[in-house]
Symmetry: C2
Subunit: 303 residues, 2 copies
């Protein structure tokens, strides 16, 4: 498989693969519906909508995309969320998508020990893919949204997850940069010691075919000249496919700076669950929501 270098190629790739099925909890707002409609139009996903009868049965896309949209009328929001999660758990859907309900309420259903979709021992984290003007390929990073300050075991899961997403995009040997404000491994910054452990695990083959290095800053990770100027020699070589951010604050700052100052188009999803979870935010453009759905459908595994 050739690498998928941008979101246009992602949509092109999905056009040639079997359609995925997306369970949507509470598609009661225009923001969610427009994303669903965009994905139906692109043709890479079918949908099961869980929500209020009078709203979801009246959606115009029911006629236009007959046979590709199922509805399950449940008026109570939390119950609709639980049902959507159950559809994923039962293998009726490959992807879960949030509509108009609080993220916390959806996550409660996702994380429920008996009926949820986070396998025991798995770590829930967030992965973003960014299409950045002037860059020749996508940049993946984690975690801008879920874990405030990851522990070493959580970071191990983050590396595994982001490597898996990179491979789904056709990057056979992802270059993963461990981001930090310094280049030195030092007890002064305990995180850099964790990074040392991750590199040892990588050398032992724990993460499969990957190139991992760090600590390094985002500029050294993404710009071959920046590293050369600082005299840094690294197998990542300024061409990182994926960044492991130090904490949620830096992940969030990176995400907001890319979208707010760089004009990047981003897609995002939760991983660690048995199916990817898409949580569009009101601030996302329709295109960004569509790309999030596409990324989730690409990385969903056959179940």
């Amino acid at each position: 498989m050739q690498s998928i270098l941008n979101f246009e190629s992602l949509l092109g790739h999905l056009a040639d693969t079997p359609r995925r099925r997306v369970a949507v909890a509470c598609p009661h707002d225009s923001h969610t519906v427009e994303a669903v409609e965009a994905a139906l139009h692109e043709g890479f996903a079918d949908f099961i909508l869980f929500g209020k009868a009078d709203i979801i049965k009246a959606l115009p896309l029911m006629d236009k995309y007959a046979g590709r949209v199922d509805v399950v009328a449940i008026d109570d929001t939390d119950e609709a969320a639980r049902a959507a999660v159950m559809a994923v758990r039962l293998g009726r859907a490959d992807v879960l998508m949030k509509g108009m309900l609080n993220t916390d309420n959806l996550l409660r259903a996702v994380l429920n020990k008996e009926h949820g979709i986070l396998p025991q021992g798995n770590v829930l984290t967030h992965i973003t893919a960014a299409e950045i003007p002037g860059r020749d390929r996508l940049l993946f990073f984690t975690d801008a949204a879920v874990i405030p300050s990851p522990t070493l075991p959580q970071r191990v899961a983050m590396v595994e997850d982001i490597a898996g997403v990179c491979r789904a995009f056709g990057i056979d040997c992802p270059r993963i940069a461990l981001i930090h404000c310094t280049e030195k491994t030092s007890p002064k910054f305990p995180l850099t010691l964790d990074y040392g452990q991750l590199k040892e695990m990588a050398a032992e083959g724990h993460f499969g075919h990957v190139i991992i290095d760090g600590p390094m800053d985002v500029k050294v990770a993404c710009d071959p000249h920046a590293g050369a100027l600082k005299g840094i020699v690294s197998p990542v070589d300024g061409r990182a496919d994926a960044l492991i951010m130090p904490d949620i604050e830096s992940g969030n700052v990176f995400y907001k700076t890319l979208t707010g100052f760089v004009g990047a188009l981003t897609a995002g999803m939760l991983v660690g669950t048995s199916a990817p979870v898409v949580l569009p935010s009101r601030g996302d453009s329709t295109r960004a929501k569509l790309c999030s759905l596409a990324m989730a459908c690409l990385t969903a595994t056959d179940r």
Copy 2:
């Protein structure tokens, strides 16, 4: 005084003000010398160079800018650093600049309790000014380089310092955004409670004439549309002059993303000391080093 909206205006402003005096520790490398020469050419600073006799006495700028450059020949690097710091302490220089020596070694002289230039009780932090393509004015932020995870008292000092720098740039009532990945004040994120305290202190007039709000993300802080889309009403109103970053990691990611992805020109300096300290890094362009010197000269107080 009119606000200084970009670095060009800063240099123009300095052309009309008395020259400042900069003490340089160990200007033994071309990177440092080219910054010194650029500032001499612009005309806003004179210099005292502390370093190896055979190098500094042979510099071509000694002839070209006769009368504006003093040299103090000291072959030992640490001793030269201590002498440069002492020149500041004695009021012979208004700004300190690092040349070719380790940052740690210079800081040891700066922080020395008996002979240094950090007044007791002051907090050493780093402030960056960024000129961002497409933005109509400079954006200031702290701290990308010094304090890993600021305590509340350290943050109070950071707000005081950055407000002072904004005022030196002619911003009478700086809009200061307290950056965080969430918009909610919650015990789940202890930092947001500190932010609440800072807002209370601001309301009590502790920081003078300022507008402070948060927690908010960098996009909401810097883009009026982003806040409107999320339904956020804030006196900062998407027009922040200054950002208080959550930690050094997010500060550093912001800095490296602005320079690496956005093409921003940045100036930076240490504050909290009795005179600003400029620490150019090899990765900085000559223009960036010149702007750092200019920012330090603007904000240096008469002593």
